[in-house]
């Protein structure tokens, strides 16, 4: 415990915040969203964009930030470095969009690819890293999963609730809950494979 105590307080707080992002703490994520969105909206509105553009760009950047923090591709020093990073991604994405051919004629989200530097990071497809295309398939498959499976998997993997709590909520015993979860995962994998 001694090791914990000698760390400067600011560090502990920052670590806690970063840890909270990693475990999908809704309060922390919402806080991050609320603090950073207004700046990005100003940027986009001042540069020929609409509020809808700002929302799409920001949400894309937000997901990219979250992914990079989760995978330790970006290791923030403190909360302000997170905010700065998020703004930079959003700015790059908006610049990319303005430069793109699709500007003025198509839906924003389809034109929003990651910036080159971030793309490099995301697309390194060593076996250890998560392949972006496969990830997109899983995300898409999850959208199409039935509500009971979606709900169960969300509680388990996003909210990180314990098996015990989920079993209680579903009024099932632990073994049936585990089995149900497994079957949902199989279904998800099947759907994702078929998207290939």
């Amino acid at each position: 415990m001694q090791a914990v105590k000698i760390k400067p307080k600011q560090n502990i707080k920052s670590n806690q915040f970063i840890e909270a992002i990693k475990v999908n703490d809704i309060v922390a994520l919402k806080h991050l969203y609320k603090i950073n969105y207004p700046k990005v909206e100003v940027l986009v509105l001042k540069n020929n964009g609409t509020k809808e553009h700002a929302k799409d760009i920001f949400q894309d950047a937000f997901l990219a930030l979250w992914k990079n923090v989760k995978q330790d591709k970006f290791v923030p020093q403190n909360e302000s470095s997170i905010n700065g990073y998020l703004y930079t991604i959003a700015k790059h994405k908006w610049m990319d969009y303005l430069r793109s051919k699709d500007y003025k004629k198509t839906v924003v989200s389809s034109a929003l690819t990651d910036t080159a530097a971030l793309d490099d990071d995301l697309n390194k497809t060593t076996d250890d890293n998560i392949n972006d295309e496969r990830l997109q398939n899983v995300m898409h498959a999850f959208k199409g999963l039935g509500a009971p499976c979606k709900d169960l998997l969300m509680k388990f993997y996003f909210e990180k609730k314990s098996m015990k709590d989920i079993a209680e909520e579903l009024q099932l015993d632990a073994a049936s809950t585990r089995n149900k979860k497994y079957r949902c995962m199989q279904k998800l994998r099947e759907l994702a494979l078929n998207l290939k």
């Binding site: 415990m1 502990i12 806690q16 840890e19 919402k30 609320k34 498959a141 993997y157 290939k196």
Partner: protein
């Protein structure tokens, strides 16, 4: 993803335990070994990782719109003109009646409401797997983060036997009790932290102590403890309590 490999329930649960660091040391060794030597296993692990990350990503993506709605949800009372003074008078009277009625109805459990609004469990300390001298402490931290507060408390209580004065332990046991809805038990642990002269958790401990008192309907002690804390929310809560 490979259609030809089958991921069994046993395999899925084993890999999950290893990824979220709840596996035993023995299992972790086995995991590392297989990862190095078994190409099929390696591919299966990559598949599982992608599935898990995909679920989290999509859930978050779907939640972002909710975040956004809360953001733009600014009350626009100015844009709703009340047309006649007569109507306005009736409206005021109606609101007063509703307000008084709800005050009477709601005042009994204001403390609970404020508590629910302000209580967010401490996110805990980062748990890293390697070279941890405090394995037991961080092992319980994993339970704490999974909201399995009872297990975390039991494990930490064991450690507390040898280090009864340790502020980190007292702090997290206190917060875990509070999160586990046993505010009365949390008070003794948190008070131990606030009475420690030099503790990095002192500030937060005062805040959670105030919340514990609030939950126990002791508003005076809640207010007193809030004045000692400079946590962002303590001022806001104090303001609401004094209101």
């Amino acid at each position: 993803m490979n259609r030809n490999t089958k991921i069994t329930q046993e395999l899925l649960e084993f890999v999950e335990r290893c990824l979220n660091k709840t596996a035993s040391n023995e299992e972790l060794k086995k995991f590392e070994h297989k990862l190095k030597n078994d190409q099929e296993f390696k591919a299966q692990v990559a598949d599982i990782k992608t599935l898990l990350f995909g679920i989290e990503s999509q859930v978050l993506k779907e939640k972002l719109d909710d975040f956004h709605e809360e953001l733009v949800d600014v009350p626009s009372s100015k844009t709703v003109p009340v047309k006649s003074i007569y109507f306005r008078k009736i409206a005021v009277a109606a609101i007063l009646i509703i307000a008084l009625g709800s005050f009477w109805f709601l005042s009994q459990n204001t403390n609970d409401k404020l508590y629910a609004k302000y209580f967010i469990p401490d996110p805990g300390l980062a748990t890293t797997m390697s070279e941890n001298t405090n394995f037991e402490f961080y092992d319980a931290m994993v339970n704490y983060k999974q909201k399995d507060y009872k297990t975390a408390i039991n494990k930490w209580n064991e450690l507390l036997k040898t280090k009864p004065e340790n502020d980190t332990l007292n702090y997290f046991i206190g917060v875990a009790h509070l999160a586990d809805k046993s505010e009365n038990q949390s008070i003794q642990f948190l008070e131990k932290v606030t009475s420690t002269t030099k503790s990095v958790f002192k500030n937060e401990a005062y805040y959670y102590l105030a919340l514990a008192y609030l939950k126990a309907d002791n508003v005076e002690l809640a207010k007193k403890n809030l004045t000692f804390s400079s946590v962002d929310n303590s001022k806001a809560l104090l303001y609401e309590l004094n209101d």
